[in-house]
Symmetry: C3
Amino acid sequence: PAPAPSGSALTNNGATVNWHSQKLKHVVDSGDFNRAAVDVVFKEALKMEKVKPNTKESKVLSGYIMSTLFYEPSTRTRLSFESAMSRLGGTVLSTESAGEYSSAAKGETLEDTVRTVEAYADCIVIRHFQEGSAKRAAAVASVPILNAGDGPGQHPTQALLDLYTIQREIGRLEGIKVGMVGDLANGRTVRSLCMLLSMYNDVQVYFVAPEVVKMRDDVKAYLTARGIKWTEASDLHEVAADADVLYQTRIQRERFLDMNEYAAARGKYIIDKDLMRILKPTAVVMHPLPRVDEITTDVDSDPRAAYFRQARNGLYVRMALLKLCLADGHPDIPL
Amino acid sequence: PAPAPSGSALTNNGATVNWHSQKLKHVVDSGDFNRAAVDVVFKEALKMEKVKPNTKESKVLSGYIMSTLFYEPSTRTRLSFESAMSRLGGTVLSTESAGEYSSAAKGETLEDTVRTVEAYADCIVIRHFQEGSAKRAAAVASVPILNAGDGPGQHPTQALLDLYTIQREIGRLEGIKVGMVGDLANGRTVRSLCMLLSMYNDVQVYFVAPEVVKMRDDVKAYLTARGIKWTEASDLHEVAADADVLYQTRIQRERFLDMNEYAAARGKYIIDKDLMRILKPTAVVMHPLPRVDEITTDVDSDPRAAYFRQARNGLYVRMALLKLCLADGHPDIPL
Amino acid sequence: PAPAPSGSALTNNGATVNWHSQKLKHVVDSGDFNRAAVDVVFKEALKMEKVKPNTKESKVLSGYIMSTLFYEPSTRTRLSFESAMSRLGGTVLSTESAGEYSSAAKGETLEDTVRTVEAYADCIVIRHFQEGSAKRAAAVASVPILNAGDGPGQHPTQALLDLYTIQREIGRLEGIKVGMVGDLANGRTVRSLCMLLSMYNDVQVYFVAPEVVKMRDDVKAYLTARGIKWTEASDLHEVAADADVLYQTRIQRERFLDMNEYAAARGKYIIDKDLMRILKPTAVVMHPLPRVDEITTDVDSDPRAAYFRQARNGLYVRMALLKLCLADGHPDIPL
């Protein structure tokens, strides 16, 4: 594919920079994962689905310590990482709100905090309100840094679990048709997913968004440069009839100054029982969660509602990444 | 006994709805525990008192993960549950303040949160400010829900540990005389304890409360309907001379608008050294803690001061409940 | 040495009161550690540096539970203790902000909280805003109390790790020359370090502080009474040329009413690349962290910059203390 346009969120450095020796070095940017790297992670994640408690596989990270360093709250992501570490026999040191409570309040830099915490833990899961924080942490850390979201920047484990869910639910990534719905301007997940999808052939993307939160030009240019077909559509029903995946997102209230505008945007594209009648029997609905009302709860019992399975896949992908970062001897990792 | 009057806090559904296969399904409402179920829990709790570190018994929940989901802070209850899980070899994912930090702030329903967290944990301990929350969680959860207090509603593990403490301290529940003292109007613990005590024969209950926080009529009617004798008394000394158990409670400042009224209520019924002289040598003083000054600290060294032992019993009862919820093969559970 | 002057922070009770049977009873006050006790701790800490995951040594506290009870946030100290416990196979119950969330808000005394939490944990690490809190906790606790800082009072594990770092970096404590720099009036760490250093022969201490935050007279008197030479110096370069250790501290903004005064004090004694040229090749720079700008970051790569190693030593010293408090059979402990 053509080189990526500039802009940190869209830079694809190629996976090689990200791996060292037999281990995954850091998980900072989804753009660091090429197809070969994604394949390794997904192969491992598939194994993770079958890990049973009290087996040898469930103790592969025994003796390892993971610290979560969350400068911004995110119960879901934190618990997912902590569960992943626990399911592999590792130990967790937890920080629910490093921003408020830590030395940060006394003026310590993130770099100093990381150089201190790396004495206590074998890897650090960091969530920070500032874009680029995870990269800064990785630059000074002697232990793997896993980016659990850095403000408007990257959230690579979410992007990988989204892609993994499509692979698991539909059975393929080549030739997939994905309808992205909702707040596409601010949605970090859809932006990252576009980037990852661009590595696969014959992908078709539909953007269905209220005018005020349309997909931005940088992503469109990125897709075009890589030969990915994308279309802006205003009729969710038309897209639903053709898509393999409907990826719904929450309209983020906090982005709106005008509450009338918010209400209009929020109510525009709802996935409900009626829409599910149009959706192909083999298609699925995804959502990064939390959901407000953009998918009605009567859809939950439909077998094509994949969002809670998607959340569970986050566990498997994070288990895979932690194992690849910490455990010795992964002959599959491309060097 | 006669059927329970309406009102969710006072509904006794019978334990059978609560058990499935060989396990305890959920711990949501103390009213779900009939005498047979209570017997099973207490028999297990007694075994828990003898669990020693690094023994087979201390690893019965090895490989299991418990998540605490506390929308309302309660260090004591959270630590008690987390210690119980740890003492049985289980792993804990902790959430000190889910309300403030979680997706709840973005508008996620409790049901969605539970359906996400159940991917990360094998059981969920939930504390919530809203009555009925634990029941709502249990309705959608595929893993056991343990109610650690839902606002003015239920706090079943507290009720069970209170009953267990009476059994352990006095040696019986039949024919017991219990003086309940303090804030009986708002005290969730005394209300639940009344309900559980009503399953036993010849129980006698004394209510000793300042006028403004008297025991409510619903509980009195519940007791009457089940043939339990209850008396309202204004003289704590008289009650102390006759009771097997004095169950003291804190006057909850936050319930009062008029601070003079609060001060009067708070100072009215104090358990001190003088009162202990009247108490029978075989009787005990209980308190759900935290205490302010309704029991003076010079009572602590009296062997009849059972409140710190009561706190410890909470550990054993919660160990028992977690084991009954999670571990396989409990032939004793009534089906 | 001569007896200590009065004042709790400066009282040396002798280590014997602190040890019972084969175990360390509590870690409340660095003044409780005499040279023999310090030797035991350091000998153990040295062993801790070599503990590898999944070895017998890494499981010496398996089955033990440590609870952190932090009334005041301190991510660094909390994670250090929790990592130490984990590295020895123990389990952690964590409380990030007991002050805000616990029963304390309802009026419970620290003593009651400790008597409750000791039912859940085998040792309690307490951090509290009030001087003397750890001592109060230890007075009622049946499990070891480890003081993680009680307001302006003691922070004994920090004092011990500082001393341990000097021993490890310089190879001796006798005849050491230590320049203490920065906020000496309010810096708890430098005060405690002075006290511990006073147990060793031929120690020379330099105080280099802005006028408004000079070392207080009580410490000076304490040193003099014990025959320790101390000098107040205003030229950091002169001290740097002679010292074996430069112990830099942060000027604490929160102590100043006048921000001009703060700015002047803060900028006065900076350790930078220029100063490092004067420092002896065998000398080291220490800092309790967090740092703001009193050591410039270009010093970090100098091998004599010992502050991140110092943080790591905190882990080893805390591992040693936890093991000495909890594990059975330490024939080396002086009785």
